[in-house]
């Protein structure tokens, strides 16, 4: 059972080195809140941090050392929103990822948000389009899921409440952190390039409609940057 008093539970999951910890740190606006590294196994156990109305949950990478799948599945079941992180540099979904998604049985599909990370390493619109397209095809083929034109998870009546996905969020945390040291036009351009504010706004929207800790105001991007 999800305990809503603790906050809107956002669980980041995905295979190792898919940028989960870096994404959550960026969402929280705190460098190194969730430590990350270049080799698998940096996040060895589930880590939880309350940030504004959210309870951010970082999980060990699937397919990493020590078979963390059962633990991760437990967290996914408790999640209000699952951020499935996938590195753009790794191409399409791997068999291991498809197997893990199958284990989740997509019961959480309407609250799963696919985030394509490392979009800025290097930025390549063609690559983003090809990988997104291929991943959408994989999800449609394996699970019958389709992108929701409405842009919200599970809200499209034409497709069905549990069969539609929010379009993939494409994020790059390097540009986001660089924006800290810039101002004005440069900061705006870097923030837009990072994709983080867009994802934050979406999570804020979900948390606001959700009801828990309604007294806690979602942190604005400007506050985080300040």
């Amino acid at each position: 059972m999800r305990d809503r008093r603790l906050g809107y539970r956002v669980v980041a999951t995905g295979i190792v080195n898919s940028g989960k910890s870096a994404l959550l740190s960026a969402l929280a606006g705190q460098t190194g809140l969730f430590p990350s590294a270049d080799v698998p196994g940096c996040t060895a156990k589930v880590t939880t941090e309350p940030v504004g109305p959210w309870l951010l949950v970082d999980t060990p990478g699937l397919d990493g050392p020590g078979n963390p799948l059962p633990e991760v599945l437990g967290e996914v079941r408790k999640a209000d929103t699952v951020l499935w992180c996938h590195s753009l540099r790794q191409g399409e979904l791997r068999p291991g990822e498809l197997a893990a998604l199958a284990q989740m049985r997509l019961a959480t599909a309407w609250r799963t948000c696919f985030v394509l990370t490392h979009a800025d390493d290097p930025p390549d619109p063609d690559r983003q389009a090809i990988v997104s397209g291929r991943m959408a095809a994989q999800l449609a083929e394996a699970f019958g899921l389709a992108m929701s034109p409405a842009g919200l998870m599970g809200r499209d009546p034409g497709i069905g409440p549990r069969r539609c996905l929010r379009p993939f969020d494409i994020v790059g945390v390097k540009a986001y952190w660089l924006a800290h040291s810039r101002s004005g036009e440069a900061r705006a351009a870097l923030l837009a390039c990072s994709g983080i504010p867009r994802l934050r706004r979406f999570l804020d929207h979900l948390a606001a409609g959700h009801g828990p800790r309604s007294d806690a105001r979602p942190p604005a991007t400007s506050e985080v940057l300040a």
């Binding site: 397919d63 390493d121 390097k174 390039c193």
Partner: protein
């Protein structure tokens, strides 16, 4: 498409490597290295192919115990499946040998790693397609043996065919990604491993060796190659893009730099290889970190497509070194120089070892299982012998015990004996007792599958020839006797002997007594002598009289009553029926053994011989042990 970024120039390390390869080709031209071994391997593989063409499908005789039958059928099914797999493997090995013959003056390098690890980009760069040089590698892709265009680099899985490039002295195979989503690609990857002289284990620095990737890699190396392949560990995509904002163009810009986490990633990659049991393949060579994007950036090419963008900066080569490509070229150069010939020469042994291991994996277990079944059959034969003895004993006792009541019931003691009915009843009884005993005792040994043998066993004749020689009526017979002559002769002889002995003894005793004491001595001597003479004379006379009387024969007339030999007949019939029951049971057990156990033993032995024949193709010591077990 040809890049023009470095007109007429290529990195020095790459050029040196290409020169070394050309020398290597010249030195190994004619393929002396490993040619004889390759031919030997080919002949052995062809022999194995011939042997595998035979079927491993023994017929199981009727009456095979259920448990054993299930086990044997499972084993035979496994053997057939293994046979089919091996036929494919053998065909693949022959293809490999053919390919090895074509490439006997080239080092075959296989690039092996996960999907999207940058293998194709590395192949293009190493083929010299990012340099403007006349002797760049000839690309091939599937049936197109000389591609005029670059191989496809794509952000999602793109390599679906056998592709790579050739340089003088080198065949570089760009393997489809391990952990591919398509089974066909995984199969192709496994197939290609067995052709390599050298494997480059490639892992992306974005997600260096994951446990599942390593497990898959280890499985493929075990399945397709030999455990002692030569390898080199390469970390690809070792770069990161750093963003910045350009106020002039009002755009976010990016610069590519080499990652700073080499130590961390190298340690992780080596540890992963070690855990997968593959560390020995890369020996003590440190992992090489390369970035084709960085190399292209230095050469003024577009990172992902290799399209020329600008003229490279002057003195580009030191900056190019940061891509790690020169270090990779130097490492390959050294391997070609120091181990090239050895790697080529050892390929047949490695291929043979791989095929031998495959044979072992496929059939080693079957041979052990066959040995177990052989032992089980030996025990079955022993159990059947013991059960046969017990059944014979039981049938004999029970059949014999019924003879007397049966004959008595049919009037053997009453004089109205019905021999025909008695004989039929006894035969029926005998058949039933034999059947019962065989079914009960054999059924315990041969499961409940005995029923399937009933038809064959029912044809067996279970009757006996019981001759009953019974005295049917009273009759008079004549016979000669010496009984009376002996009696009369004995009595007469005894009387005469007693009298003569008493007289002679008395006379002698009196004469003797007189010598010592006349008067009284005479009387005492006479009395004692008379007594002794009577005793000895009577015995002697009787013996003489019996002998004399026996010389006289007398003819008698005797009356024999009907049925007087019934007891004898019953005894005789009882013995005969008991014996017959025992014999019949033993015969039927021998029939069972001959129709079930012995053919099974023969089939299992033949099967074990066949499998051993397969295993012995490459003659490793295991076979002899297997052979002993099976026999």
């Amino acid at each position: 498409m040809m890049s023009t970024s470095v007109p007429g120039m290529a990195p020095a390390a790459w050029s040196r490597w290409v020169d070394t390869l050309a020398h290597f080709e010249a030195a190994t031209a004619g393929g002396a290295a490993g040619k004889a071994q390759r031919r030997l391997l080919e002949s052995r593989v062809r022999k194995l192919r011939t042997e595998l063409a035979g079927t491993a499908s023994p017929g199981l005789p009727k009456g095979t115990p259920h448990g054993l039958e299930a086990k044997l059928r499972e084993l035979i099914g496994g053997l057939r499946a293994g046979q089919a797999r091996l036929v494919d493997d053998v065909a693949a090995a022959l293809e490999d040998i053919e390919q090895a013959a074509e490439n006997e003056d080239r080092l075959v390098v296989l690039v092996f790693g996960e999907v999207n690890a940058g293998k194709t980009a590395l192949a293009l760069h190493m083929a010299g397609w990012d340099f403007d040089v006349p002797r760049r590698g000839r690309l091939f892709c599937g049936p197109d043996l000389d591609c005029a265009r670059r191989l496809v680099e794509f952000p999602v899985e793109a390599t679906r065919e056998y592709q790579g490039f050739r340089l003088p002295g080198l065949l570089w195979i760009d393997c489809p990604g391990v952990s591919s989503c398509t089974a066909e690609n995984a199969r192709l990857a496994r197939r290609l491993v067995s052709r390599a002289d050298l494997i480059l284990f490639v892992t992306s620095s974005d997600a260096p060796f994951k446990p599942s990737e390593m497990a898959e890699l280890a499985r493929l190396v075990r399945a397709g190659g030999s455990p002692d392949l030569a390898g080199l560990l390469v970390i690809t995509q070792f770069d990161e893009a750093l963003p910045d904002y350009d106020p002039a163009t009002r755009k976010v810009t990016w610069s590519l730099v080499r990652k700073g986490s080499y130590e961390q990633q190298a340690a992780w990659a080596l540890e992963s290889l070690r855990e997968a049991g593959l560390a020995h393949l890369v020996a003590d060579r440190p992992p090489l970190a390369v970035s084709t994007h960085l190399a292209r950036e230095t050469l003024g090419l577009e990172w992902t497509t290799g399209k020329p963008l600008r003229v490279p900066a002057a003195g580009w080569e030191p900056a190019y070194a940061a891509s790690g490509i020169p270090a990779l070229c130097a490492a390959l150069d050294e391997i070609v120089k120091t181990r090239g010939r050895e790697l080529k020469a050892s390929w047949p042994q490695k291929r043979e070892a791989a095929l031998s291991a495959r044979l072992e994996d496929t059939f080693g277990g079957s041979l052990a299982a066959l040995a177990q079944i052989g032992a089980q059959l030996d025990k079955l034969a022993r159990d059947l012998d013991l059960a046969g003895e017990r059944a014979a004993q039981e049938a004999s006792e029970r059949a014999a015990g019924r003879v007397a009541p049966c004959l008595g019931g049919n009037g053997i003691y009453r004089g109205d004996f019905d021999a025909k009915t008695a004989r039929r009843e006894l035969a029926d009884h005998l058949r039933r007792r034999v059947d019962e005993a065989v079914r009960r005792h054999a059924g315990r040994v041969l499961d409940s599958n005995l029923r399937s043998l009933d038809r064959e066993l029912a044809a067996y004749d279970a009757t006996i020839r019981l001759e009953i020689d019974l005295q049917r009526k009273t009759r008079t017979i004549r016979r000669t006797s010496t009984t009376r002559g002996r009696a009369v002769g004995g009595a007469t002889g005894a009387a005469a002997g007693t009298l003569a002995g008493a007289w002679a003894g008395a006379e002698g005793g009196a004469a003797l007594g007189t010598l010592f004491l006349p008067g009284l001595g005479t009387a005492i001597g006479g009395i004692l002598g008379g007594l002794l003479g009577a005793v000895f004379g009577g015995a002697g006379g009787r013996a003489v009289g019996r002998w004399a009387g026996a010389q006289v024969q007398e003819t008698q007339v005797v009356e024999v009553p009907a049925g007087s030999n019934a007891a004898d007949v019953v005894d005789k019939a009882t013995r005969k029926v008991g014996k017959a029951a025992g014999r019949l049971v033993r015969e039927r057990f021998a029939l069972l053994k001959g129709s079930v156990v012995i053919p099974l033993q023969r089939e299992v032995k033949a099967l074990a011989d066949t499998v051993e024949g397969w295993l012995a193709t490459f003659g490793t010591p295991h076979r002899a042990a297997g052979s002993r077990r099976a026999s």
